[in-house]
Point group: C2
Chain length 142, copies 2
């Protein structure tokens, strides 16, 4: 397995910040992480892809309005950096408290980041449902 | 909407080649598109993420063995290029013929590519199920 680099660590930190903003249910905190004026995209589990700032931010407002509390634990995190682009895969273990009760979910995410002026911004989030129990131990990213 | 560039076109061509290889059900044709010795990753709909060449290629062999025929039509294609990295979002409209009959599916994909020596290689595929009818007309990628 390749040794993590400082770039890897910075991208992992940006990925963690995304989930802390998600847990905060604060739209301003979420907005602050996405590439300003960027061609951002977002796929929530089962939803059609959202393209562009208005659609993506509207979706976060909708999710935050309908949620009372949310906690993420991440596993199976891999990161790949290619110059000023990077992508992270991770499994989101989610506990969420909504108006009609608690739900637990396991979501596979692909999160893409771009670096501008030394800072990593999220530009794409894709969350997809995982079916069934965890199937296998994975080999590390090469 | 930004004008497509020649880089965009080359990435779209690499994305199309991925789906033609998928339709071919030929493992050698699929292998030829993934970054050699690369840290590749793949998420089939509902599966845990597969990390590294052996796991990813084993999954394609498994899918191709269980499938008699497959046709993809793509819609809602967006592309973003950042130097030697790129990602494509698209909706896969799939007709597949399997041992137990025909199935139709609609999958949201995020496909990530890296450029080496002028050629775009696929390095990550994430396919996630879409639920329900198509919800809205999307705005174009900025």
């Amino acid at each position: 397995m390749a040794q993590p680099t400082s770039d890897d660590a910075a991208v992992i930190a940006a990925n963690d910040a995304f989930y802390r903003a998600f847990e905060s249910l604060e739209i301003d905190r979420m907005r602050a992480l996405w590439l300003p004026s960027g061609p951002i995209t977002c796929v929530h589990p089962g939803w059609d892809a959202l393209v562009g700032w208005p659609a993506v931010m509207e979706s976060w407002e909708q999710i935050f309005t309908g949620t009372l509390g949310m906690r993420f634990t991440l596993s199976d995190v891999t990161v790949r950096v290619v110059a000023d682009a990077a992508w992270v895969l991770c499994v989101e273990h989610i506990e969420s408290r909504e108006l009609d009760g608690m739900t637990e979910a396991r979501i596979q995410a692909t999160n893409v980041f771009e670096r501008r002026d030394g800072r990593w911004w999220i530009v794409h989030h894709h969350g997809g449902p995982l079916f069934g129990p965890r199937a296998r131990t994975q080999s590390p990213l090469q």
